[in-house]
Structure formats: C-alpha cells, structure tokens
C-alpha cells in the first residue's frame, strides 16, 4: 500500500538503487558457482587464456578423470552409503526417543530432556579428538584380545558417529512437534486395543511427517558436506574416504600439478546433489530452518 504512494523521482531512484544492490549480491553468489561449472568442462590449455572465455567444448574427460583416476566415483558411493545409513540410524533411534520424551511422564524424563538440550551446545569440533582417541584405544584393545580391529577407517562406524552427534538437534526438533499433538489420538487408539508400539508407529509417526522431512533434509546436507570427523576417523591413506575428504585431497594434489580440470569436475560432483535437492525442496528447507533455527 505504502509504496504505491511513492511516485516521486527520489523514490524511483531509491528503487533502482535497491535493485542494483540486490542483483549485484545475487551475481556475487551465482557467478562463482557458474564459473566452477564452466571450468569443469574446459581443457587444461584453456586455463591459461582469458579466464572469462566460455568453454570451447564440452570436455567431459575431466569428469572421467575425476571419477576413475581420482577415485571420486568410489568416494561418491562411500558418501551415499554413510549418509543413508546415518540418516536411517538417526531416525530409528531418535523418533521413538523423542516421542517418549515428549509424551510420557516417568522418573528421569526431565533429566533426560535437559541432557539432550545441553547436547545442543556440544560442538563436534571440540570432541572430535576424544572420539578419535576412544576409537583408537578401542581398536588397540580389540587387537590385543581378538587379533583384529575395525573401529577406525570404517564407514559404518563413521555413520554411527554422525547419527549420534545429530541426536540432540533431531530430538529437540521432533519432540517439539510431538508435544503439540492432542492426547485424544492415543487415547482413541488405546481404546481400540492398540498397544504402545503400534500406536506410536501407525498413528503418531505419520502425523510427524513434515518435521521428519525437515530433519532428513538438514541432516542429509550436514552429513554429505561434513569433512572434519570423516578426515579424522578415516586417516589411513589407503582406507575408504568420503566425498568431501576425497575432494580436499584432489584439490591439494591438482594445485601443485597445475591440472585444474579434474579438480573443478570434482567440485561439481560434490555440490551437484545438494544443489538439485535444494532446488526441489528449498521451501521446506528455509521454512524448517526458522523452526529449528538452532543449528549454527
């Protein structure tokens, strides 16, 4: 309403200025991302000419090199495995726990709720070294008693660690939704003779679908993009790696070898899945963020 009244020339100038700044900012984000996509299909000689020139052809050899020679294909599979497994474990563990913590009164419920809330403030960057030492000691113990070890350089263990460190945020977000569901639903189910487990799985979980989707989206992004824990727990040179760690190694190797094409192809391989997901679900994501705005 207000803006219709402003037709003076200074108002128009102001409007133009606003659009100018907004577009400038949008470009400062879009151009670098587009630049990487362009560079990923350039041949190596093209990196020495004018950097703003469009790629001469679709040089897909970069992707082949990144996929096989730099093992990005293998790392991609590892990342898919770790992310899927971590999200599955997380949902299986966190959903029943959040339901019970939100809906049931029992001794210790308050303490557990406070403990998980406090967990929101524990950042993984602080505890990555103790986790590393714990698993290393565990391996040494296993080797002494059983002669073999498996805790370090193990994708499944990494997925468990991811799921565990995401628990406080997930429980916080889902149980804050469960609290709002009226008690009548469960009472009706109990009268119909459904047990606790069936009521939870068949009545309550389907109702929580929107928050479950939010949780899956956020955790997909954080597990897929994570690199510090992965780098620390997968430190063996020959062991399995996840995509961001593989990319980091590729970046360091290609910088010194001045072979840029595969590096940019690797960048595209890491960010393409997140970009596609984002375009599909951006409404859910930015809305969900304001609900669970605690994730720094």
């Amino acid at each position: 309403m207000i803006s219709k009244e402003r037709t003076s020339s200074s108002g128009k100038l102001y409007k133009i200025f606003i659009y100018f700044v907004l577009i400038l900012m949008a470009l400062s984000i879009l151009i670098p991302v587009a630049w990487v996509f362009m560079a990923s299909i350039k041949q190596n000689v093209e990196f020495y000419g004018n950097p703003w020139r469009l790629p001469a052809s679709f040089y897909l050899e970069n992707f082949r090199a990144a996929w096989t020679t730099a093992k990005m294909g293998e790392y991609m599979l590892n990342s898919v495995y770790v992310t899927t497994l971590a999200i599955t474990i997380l949902l299986v563990v966190a959903l029943p726990a959040s339901y019970v913590l939100a809906r049931f009164k029992f001794r210790g419920a308050k303490f557990l709720n406070t403990a998980f809330m406090a967990g929101l403030f524990i950042n993984v960057n602080y505890i990555v070294v103790p986790i590393f030492l714990m698993l290393k000691d565990g391996d040494q113990f296993l080797k002494k008693t059983f002669g073999s070890f498996f805790l370090m350089n193990n994708l499944t263990v990494l997925a468990v660690v991811y799921a565990a460190t995401a628990l406080p945020f997930t429980i916080y977000l889902i149980s804050s939704y469960f609290v709002t569901i009226p008690k009548d639903f469960e009472e009706a189910a109990y009268i119909d003779g459904a047990g606790y487990g069936r009521t939870m799985i068949q009545i309550i979980f389907p109702m929580a679908k929107p928050s479950i989707i939010t949780v899956v989206l956020f955790n997909f992004l954080s597990f897929w993009n994570e690199y510090i824990i992965s780098m620390t727990l997968m430190s063996s040179a020959k062991g399995p790696k996840t995509l961001p760690v593989g990319l980091l190694n590729l970046m360091q190797a290609q910088q010194s070898a001045a072979n840029y094409g595969p590096m940019y192809a690797g960048l595209v391989l890491v960010m393409l899945p997140t970009l596609i997901l984002y375009v599909c679900v951006q409404k859910n994501l930015t809305k969900g963020m304001t609900v669970g705005g605690l994730k720094g």
């Binding site: 990487v36 029943p96 505890i127 040494q140 980091l248 960010m271 970009l275």
Partner: protein
C-alpha cells in the same frame, strides 16, 4: 487384545538406544576433553601422566596459541559485524519493500549455505588464484597490475578468509531475520508512515526493537559458529598458512592433535570453550532489553 509390552519396558526400549549413543559419542568425549586437559599423553607413549595445570601454564606463554586466538577474535568481530549488518539490511529490504522476485533473491542468497565448506574453499581458490583468478582479472580491467595480488599471501590471507566466511554466512542470517520481520504486523508501519516517519526511522524504531529477541539469539550463534566455521574454512583453504598467519584457535588445537600432543590439544579446547562461553554470556548481558510485544 492384550497389550504386548508394559509401559515401563516400552519407555526403556524407546529411550535406551538414544541415551547410549548420546552418552558414548557426546557425553563421554566432552568429559574427556576436560579430564585430558590435565594429563600429558603422547601419540607414541600410550600411558597418561597427571600434570595438573601444566598444560594451561605452558599454553598462556605459547606465542602461536596467542596468535591463533588473536585471529579468532578478529574473525568473530569482523565477520559478525559485516554479516550482521548486511543480513539485517537486506532482510528489511526484502520484507518491507515491494521487491519483484523476492523469492528468487531469497533462494539465491541461501545457496552458499548448502555447499560443503570444502566446495566453498575450492570456489574461492578459483576466485583468489594469482594468475587468471576471478578477482585479479576483474581488478586488472581497471588498473594495470605489474604483479598479481597474492590473496592468500601473508598480508591479505585474513581478508580473504573474512570475505569467504561472510559470503557463506549472510544467507543463513538473512532468512532468519526475514522470518521474524515478516511476523511484525503491517499496521504498525502504516500508522508510522501516516505520522511521517521515514524508512530509516521505521527500521530503527519499529523493526529492530521488535526483532530484538531474535537478534540477541543470533549474536550468540555468531560467536559459536564463527569459532567453528573459522576452523572449517582455514583448514580447507590455507591449513593455517602461510607461516601460521591464518591459524585459528580450533585449528591450532587440531594441529597439536596431529603432532601427537593430545593432552595439550585438549587444554586448548578447554580454553576456547571457556572463552566462547564467557563471550556469549557477556554479549547476552550487554544486549539485554525489556522484551517488546505487539
């Protein structure tokens, strides 16, 4: 039909896995951070020796630690200031002005947030490349550079990291502020403009006071997340180089772990934790105002 399991066993069954995972991978490591900071433990000598506060005494005289703390504080102040102002102003513009394509801008500004920090550091290595880099080739259009600007050189490396961190963070806070600004009732602005209040007056007298609670929360986020993000950025962009010029506190902690000094590394962790806790408490206290309601 009889109930298959009792109430208390149902509760136990549901809560136990979460409690076990949480205890093993979060509570115990957190306790260990504090405990190990009082011990000496090396990578090659498996035993631990209790050394009291020796690690901390050594720490406050460690020039490299002090430098990394200085860099961290610099990043907290500068990145917070720039990101905060930019996000706030753009959120106000996108919610208050009838901007066409409001949705488009919101979507674009949030993109950096969904990218891995490794990807962002890859993007910025293309931007900062001395020969043929994006930034130097733009600057080259206006002035004739005899020597390319070394963005990751000792002098400019902190500036480069600040730019990358702001680039990544603005979208997140912008969406946060937009959400709380859009819940302010339109009628307040209408009556204000009837009384002749300009846009700027409205921004400072209506918008800022009414989202103050949100601003306070995000200021705490800024402190905590800048400490963490600085580590993720520096580790993947420069690894603390050149010559330790861009080392940050958590990065120094991690490098001591790599050097095999686990106890010392944890003492650094404790110091950073106490620092961030104290700073958040201070900011919280300073920004305390009466909550306005509408």
């Amino acid at each position: 039909m009889k109930k298959s399991i009792g109430r208390s066993s149902f509760i136990l069954l549901c809560v136990a896995p979460a409690v076990i995972l949480f205890t093993v991978f979060m509570i115990l490591p957190t306790i260990n951070v504090f405990r190990m900071s009082l011990f000496q433990r090396g990578a090659y000598s498996p035993g631990e020796t209790f050394v009291g506060f020796d690690n901390f005494i050594y720490l406050i005289n460690d020039a490299q630690f002090i430098r990394s703390m200085q860099n961290t504080i610099l990043l907290i102040v500068v990145v917070t200031l720039i990101t905060f102002c930019t996000a706030l102003v753009f959120a106000a513009i996108l919610t208050r002005e009838n901007v066409k394509g409001q949705n488009f801008f919101r979507i674009v500004f949030y993109i950096p947030n969904i990218l891995s920090i490794v990807v962002i550091s890859g993007i910025f290595s293309a931007i900062y490349k001395p020969e043929n880099g994006m930034l130097n080739s733009i600057i080259g259009l206006f002035t004739n550079m005899s020597n390319p600007i070394l963005w990751k050189g000792e002098k400019l490396v902190m500036v480069s990291i600040i730019i990358a961190m702001v680039w990544q963070a603005v979208g997140y806070y912008l969406v946060m502020y937009m959400a709380s600004m859009s819940s302010i009732p339109e009628s307040l602005y209408e009556s204000a403009s009837l009384e002749g209040a300009s846009r700027f007056t409205q921004f400072f007298q209506i918008t800022i006071p009414l989202i103050w609670t949100n601003i306070r929360t995000t200021l705490t986020f800024f402190i905590i997340s800048t400490i963490n993000m600085a580590f993720l950025f520096v580790k993947s962009m420069t690894s603390g180089g050149p010559n330790g010029a861009s080392e940050v506190a958590l990065g120094y902690m991690y490098s001591q772990k790599d050097a095999g000094l686990f106890g010392y590394s944890m003492a650094i962790g404790v110091m950073i934790f106490l620092f961030s806790f104290a700073l958040s408490a201070l900011v919280n206290k300073v920004t305390k105002r009466d909550v306005l309601e509408y």
